[in-house]
Amino acid sequence: MTLEIIGISVLWLFLFLYVIVASIDFGAGFFNAYSSFIGKQHILTGIIQRYLSPVWEVTNVFFVFFFVGIIGFFPQTAFYYGTTLLVPASLALILLAIRGSYYAFATYGAKINHRGYIYMYGLSGLLLPAALSPVLAMSEGGFIKMDNGQPYLDYWTLFTSPLMWSIVVLSLTAVLYISAVFLTWYSSKAGDLKANELMRKYALIWAGPAIITATGIIYELRGHNPEHYARILDLWWVFALSFLLFAGTVYLIWKKRHYGWAFILLMGQFFTAFFAYGASHYPYLLYPYLTIYDSFTNESMAIALIIAFIAGLCLLLPSLYLLFRLFLFDKDYVEGKSDYHA
């Protein structure tokens, strides 16, 4: 295994973790808003706040980790993606800022319960994945063009591309599906039957669209980037495994059994699909300009970064374990028997 592969695997893993925790966060905001809209807010709010409050800041760090890491391991990406992403990334940043600060303001400070804010919060959770997902489309090539040696983003081609819109739709359905499955499990742990029933319904509703759009994208790629499509076909068995895991999740939720396992299978489904997608993208970071080899940092920096990464993990993993033990696996806390916040 080369340093390049280690580097990109580490980053891809953190992006995967961000996708999962951020989906739970974004989806929870949306379900909270939606249930408020249909007059069922009282069912979900408690559960959602109890999970989100201690972890929302940690969710944010996964994102920071990814973009700092990719610039560190692959400084050339700053040149291509940095120049072209100014507008979409700034929009995402503004949404992220409003969302994060609003959450602290509302739940911790002012205890605002205004419906308008709840809707805005829910909506921003859907806009964010929509603003972030074009990056995946851009990496397939054809949207970033060169002018006098400087890259620029061709907005017209991007916004008229079915591939871009498929990715946006996929990110939305995946967010809602992941979040619903997680909250089904979390509410069942809390013994909150009403919330559990509602979330189970949402999970089943969003399972179909999520899997259909995921398959649709593979089809889109056939026309857009045949080279990538061929590599995906080579890895068909991993995608098939991913589908089986998906079927397992839906089955367990349908049968109202083992929600914990259902969530683990879901993680497996996305993990396999995410890594198979990443592996089929290899070796390109930006088709056809940038591969992981020509953008890689010098060797001494790569080694230093990997050492820092291992040292960091030694610090991080026990801390994360403690966090989960206190807020995810602690019966009293999850059931909301006591509110210990400062």
């Binding site: 973009f67 503004i94 994060g100 602290a104 400087q150 920096m301 970064l305 801390s319 210990y340 916040h341």
Partner: protein
């Protein structure tokens, strides 16, 4: 000034984001230590008031942390969005501390979440106190790492340039540039000092508003003592920073002091207006610049004329330098007077005018932070990577920066107003008297 030029616009947006972020970042680094000290004193003295102090500070701290996190995320990403050519080059050398900063931030975020949501969950307050150590350490460590990145931009080393590319990179050498010790120490000391004076402002303000509770007196005395300690530390480190500048970045010091001709027995210029190369209406202290630069009144200080004109920083940084130093001196003196008077039991510190001066301390310290950062950043113009890359070469070529400035300015206005409204509402609805009474009741209830 060219409003079409992406480099100029990128500077504006970076200035805007950093100036806003630094307010919250300073609080984010300093306040955890104050909370930690208050909780420690509370445990030691078995005084519930200090524990409550820690708890109420922590509650307000969450709000500032939230804004600090989101604006910090913004500047983190803006580095690559606005300065892609710079990051492409410097990323090869300086990625390590940037990466470590994220780990420190991660560590802090985890334990802050745990700390905030486990009040009263542990029987023993000492256990809860232990959770604060990683929070304060993480906050301090992330400021150390990010300041290291900035120090590198001021004094790059740890690489060689071959055909426009950086080769033979040594990540550790790049991390420990000569600018690191003074910069890191100064950032930490001023963050602690600013936080202490801010918290003192709040206590003084409550007392002015007629609250006579002993709780506020304890808070004020504790924070003023801490403020004094860190103000003295800041002044000492500031002196070292002057010596660092004289040695490694003489053009910055020379521009700050309008020192044009290289010469011995250099004088320090306070205030004044520049007329050509002559400082008018200024207070000139003979020998002081030589003392600041080399601890010796007769040594030579390099003047601005030694540098080519297109590599000189703008001369208005003198005003920033003055602002920073004056506020620092004032706060050190002021807190010294307060602490001595409090020990001696002199009554004037309870007078209204004195309380108002105390209230002004926190905002003044924040102004000094801004002035200091503008001084250090504008003072290395025209370089983005001193000696290697100019600002204009590092910027994006994108044509949409102007629009982004408007968007982000709007965002910061909303966040700024939001912070003030939420914080004041939070404390006004639940004043300390009410909370103390509620706690008494709860305790009484348990005993029955």
């Amino acid at each position: 000034m060219d409003f079409q030029d992406p480099a100029f616009l990128s500077r504006i947006l970076t200035l805007l984001t950093l100036s806003f972020h630094i307010l919250y970042a300073t609080i984010g680094v300093g306040v955890p230590l104050m909370i930690m000290i208050a909780q420690w004193v509370g445990i030691k003295k078995k005084d519930d008031h200090y524990i409550l102090l820690a708890r109420r500070w922590a509650r307000g701290f969450v709000i500032t942390v939230a804004v600090g996190v989101v604006t910090g995320t913004a500047i983190g990403l803006q580095l690559s969005l606005l300065w892609p050519n710079f990051m492409q080059l410097a990323g090869n050398v300086i990625a390590l501390p940037l990466f470590m900063e994220v780990f420190a931030f991660f560590f802090e975020a985890i334990f802050l979440g745990i700390y905030l949501y486990t009040w009263d969950r542990f029987e023993d307050q000492r256990k809860h106190f232990l959770l604060l150590i990683p929070v304060a350490l993480g906050a301090a460590a992330s400021s150390v790492f990010i300041t290291i990145v900035n120090a590198f931009m001021n004094q790059p080393q740890g690489f060689e340039v071959l055909n426009g590319e950086m080769v033979n990179v040594s990540p550790l050498l790049a991390m420990f540039s000569p600018a690191v010790p003074t910069k890191v120490a100064h950032v930490m000391a001023t963050a602690f000092m600013t936080s202490a004076f801010l918290l003192a402002s709040i206590a003084a303000f409550r007392m002015l508003r007629g609250s006579t509770h002993i709780y506020h007196k304890k808070a004020l005395f504790l924070t003023m003592k801490l403020g004094l300690v860190f103000a003295i530390a800041t002044a000492l480190i500031g002196d070292f920073s002057g010596k660092y500048l004289a040695e490694y970045q003489p053009e910055k010091l020379a521009a700050a002091e309008w020192h044009f001709e290289t010469g011995e027995e250099a004088e320090l210029i306070l205030f004044g207006v520049l007329d050509g190369e002559e400082a008018k209406y200024a207070i000139k202290i003979p020998y002081a610049l030589s003392i600041l630069a080399h601890s010796n009144p007769f040594t030579e200080v390099i003047g601005l004329n030694e540098f080519p004109e297109d590599e000189r920083p703008p001369l208005w940084i003198h005003y920033l330098f003055d602002t920073m130093v004056m506020i620092g001196m004032w706060l050190a003196l002021f807190s010294f007077v307060y602490v001595v008077a409090a020990w001696r039991g002199w009554a004037f510190i309870q007078a209204k005018w004195f309380r108002w001066l105390t209230v002004a301390g926190g905002p003044l310290a924040l102004i000094a932070i801004e002035a200091g950062w503008w001084f250090t950043e504008v003072g290395r113009q025209p370089w983005i990577l001193r000696g290697h890359m100019k600002v204009s070469e590092g910027a994006t070529t994108s044509g949409q920066v102007d629009l982004m400035i408007i968007l982000f300015a709007g965002l910061y206005i909303i966040l700024g107003i939001g912070t003030v409204v939420v914080l004041s509402r939070m404390y006004r609805r639940n004043p300390v008297e009410k909370e103390l009474a509620a706690r008494e009741n709860a305790k009484g209830g348990e005993e029955q």
